[in-house]
């Protein structure tokens, strides 16, 4: 079976990672990726990011990942780090509507992108996004640590395919791990979101 949205495939993600050279697959790289200090001789740059519809100017180290910038520079801690090496999907955000592992892309490569995090979904009056409401209705989350990533993956899926079958939803969400095993309830939530969206 083909994935619902070819943009969402793990292969595309891996290719993107290779292109960016940003896989933080070892401990030492992990700390470098957190952008906490600048390598000798490197030049840090103030760059402008479009996050949740707002332009944010932020000081970003050359090797810094998007997840680190969001969490530690912009205070958007809804984006979680479960593995920090492109395996679990807890850090999933949308870049130009495409679910993207925030731990595995360089922030500098995001300058022209439209970034959306879980914090940007709720309406100003507090109304939850249909995916968030669907997850509440279905009690999708258990421990909740993977939930922001699951939410963003579902939002990306439904933008590409507003009325997926359950099987299509299963394929579209396959890049996100839930150790609590709440897949069934998350899928209930995605289908509910498609109904109310």
């Amino acid at each position: 079976m083909q994935p619902v949205n070819p943009q969402l495939t793990r292969r595309r993600f891996i290719k993107g990672v290779i292109a960016s050279g940003a896989v933080a697959g070892t401990t030492s790289l992990w700390y470098a990726a957190n952008g906490q200090s600048r390598p000798a001789g490197a030049v840090e740059r103030m760059i402008r990011l479009n996050v949740n519809g707002q332009d944010r100017t932020v000081d970003v180290a050359p090797q810094e990942t998007l997840a680190s910038t969001l969490r530690y520079k912009l205070g958007l801690t809804g984006t979680k780090l479960g593995c920090n090496r492109g395996e679990c999907g807890a850090c999933t955000v949308l870049v130009d509507d495409v679910p993207t592992y925030g731990c595995s892309v360089l922030t500098h490569s995001m300058k022209d992108g439209r970034i959306e995090t879980v914090e940007g979904l709720e309406a100003p009056d507090g109304t939850l996004h249909p995916v968030q409401q669907g997850f509440v209705d279905a009690l999708g989350p258990q421990c909740g640590y993977c939930t922001p990533g699951q939410v963003m993956a579902a939002v990306g899926l439904l933008r590409a395919n507003p009325n997926p079958t359950r099987q299509e939803a299963r394929m579209g969400m396959a890049g996100n791990i839930c150790r609590c095993g709440s897949y069934d309830s998350y899928l209930d939530g995605v289908m509910r979101a498609a109904e109310i969206g």
Binding site: T77, G78, E87, E119, V136, Q142, M171, I177, R179, Y183
Partner: protein, 813 residues
Amino acid sequence: MAYMHIGKDFVPPDVTGKVTGRIKYAEDYTREGMVYARLLTSPIPHARVLEIDAAEALAMDGVYGILTADEVYPDGEPQSTGLKILTNHPTLVGEPILALAAVDEKTAETAIAAINVTFERLPFVLDPLDSLREGGPNAFVDGNTFGRQGFTEAKWSSDQVASFRAGNAPAEDAPTTGPIPTFAYGDLEAGFAAAADGFVYEGSFTTAGYPHHSMEPRSAMAYWEDGKLYLHGTSQSLTALANDMAGIIGVAKEDLVFINAATGGGFGQRARAGSIPSMAIPAKMSQKLNRPVMMRITREEEFTIGGARQGFQGWIKVGFRPDGVMSACDIFVVSDNGGKGGGADAFSAADCISILYQTEAVRFRGASVATNTAHRGAQRGPGQNQIAPIISPIMDAAADALGMSRLDIRVVNSAQTGDVGGPQRQPLTSAYMPEALQQAANDFDWEGRQSRRRQRNGSKVTGLGIGQGYHNAGRSGMDGIVMMGADGRLKIHNGVGNLGTYSYASTSRAAAEALKMPWESCDIITGRTDYHLPITSPQDGSNSIFTNTRTCYGAAMDMLAKMKEIAAQGLGGEPADYDISDERVHRIADGGIGMSYAEVAQRAMELGGKFTGEAELPEELAEWTQIAASRLAGTGFMGIYHDPAHSNNPPGFTVTCTEIELDLETGKYEILDMVSIGECGTVMHPQGLKNQLVGGAVWGIGLSALERHLYDPQNGLPASTGYWQSKVPTYLDTPARIETGWVDLPDPENPVGARGIGEPTQGSVSAALTAAISDALDGHIFGAAPITTDMIINHVAGTQEDAVALAQNNFRG
């Protein structure tokens, strides 16, 4: 019984925070002046630290200091095998030797690389059987086991080990060792004699040890302020863990503020402070440096200090009488106890057989042997769930041999109310396994699907499986507190951890039920210990629902009794003349005479004394609860309760039916359908129960098919350092739909009839899957979990690899 809250869905108060990302986990916090700690961990599996030279590191810009084992244990490290905060005697790769704090993590890592640690290499061992063999290496300097007698050395003769490894029965005098090395009840010899005309199975088995893999790494942040320690951590058990963590850190209980609004997955390893002492590192570093300290833990580090399930290498003999009754079971398990001690998983496995199948005679013997691998601890159904996938195909073989249906043989051997189990022959509080079996069979159309058994479709063949799971599911002896202010709102102080089961909320509803309180008028007080929360049992072993509905209900009933007393004082008559409804206490005979809850609470605060917790507290309250109650005393109307110990065993049971299609060419199989039924007394929260059933199912799929933890046998290095090397089930490994249901019959020893359920589904699902695989392969019994695609292909190809007994060590590929 018609309940107001129980058995009804609700929106737990933390769900919105989870879907919006607003709820905070330990690593989400920050504090001005915060510095970052990193760990120097052991690069070798067994060693002694001879010297630490950190001079160069400490001279680096941005480095604030180090913390060593000598500092955290000035009187010497504890003489036990348990996890230490830091150690000079590492017994596994990755064990923390020291911590270093710096302005950021990169600086910390750079400085750690400049520290020179001189190690004395010591012998190491990865396979318990290698250590059991006479002359084999020991995981510890002083032996390979640890028990009440301290360190000891357990050895078998080389011949005994070779025979056991080859799948033969252990010698009658094979030495046993471990936390609970043996038990027996019934007449084993008579049991097997009775099975002589029935069916007897004998064979070896292995089960894998594997990591917990909680999604949230066990990061922690700490700072000290006004003599109090503020610790942002991760925990399954809020007050139970904090109560013990204070001792590990060395801070008075009243001076520890443990903050833990949410935990990113527990599964056993975060239930007790002893299994997560790393949280003491930022606490002690912060004390030393007088700065806030954040210590983030990586996924790779989770593999070494995050703990793992014990692996089994065992032998079992099971006898069935001609009528299908399991008349005898003789089981011997060599448990891999890892490098930092472990548990009594093997005992629990035998105990499970005794209870789940009501076996007439059981003999359990075990040897729990240390290895220089990840530390072991409780993991979802520790023991019960390892044995479930081993037993289920044996049940089917017996059914086939005796000409019974596979459903009937389970009904014949099922637990019912009035039955006893385990070595103490402890009565069950209630049990409805026949009902659960029948409900699962009906919902799955078990009988209707029998015609599909072993049907071929090209290279694919259909297998049907049915499995059962059990875990004891309730404790007692804990405390409860409820409060009410002049606004009349009910504040339920709940010390249960928030690890995703929502039991902190569903148990609170027992208090609302007792007071007939609208849920909108209730607040759950939880998330940090300076909210003054009562002690609870560690939130493990499926116990929370049973244990904490008793405490919440009891505290509310205390408040109810006081309400009636206050009403009688003010309005005349006796307390027994009053009842409650619509947030009022009123005369039974005349509902117009009464007081609102707000008025009662106001009056209670005027009266003080026992009504506000300033007098007549239950004498049996735990020290932790006494501290909480003393701080709440006088601040509002208090209901408080100590739950006396109960004696019987509240069981949690599940039954799962599944249909798979197994491809004989690839060894892969697809789960076509799955139905799981819970038998856990009265249902508290249907959505929460459903989540436990489907979550346990995913864990069962991992146990029976995927999860293991590999080590390099030459150097003892963990080969599993990420999810991709130690795979957990994903969306695509699990069915698109898992059907669930429940029996929903009340347990008499719980005030609302409820028992727990967290663990057993993993067992029943893994049991159903190994049974289905066996079914698809004409009844072949692998005697292993997981059953990997390689094993299936080898079997189909007729190679003997899968049948070489105990060749698949728990920790080898």
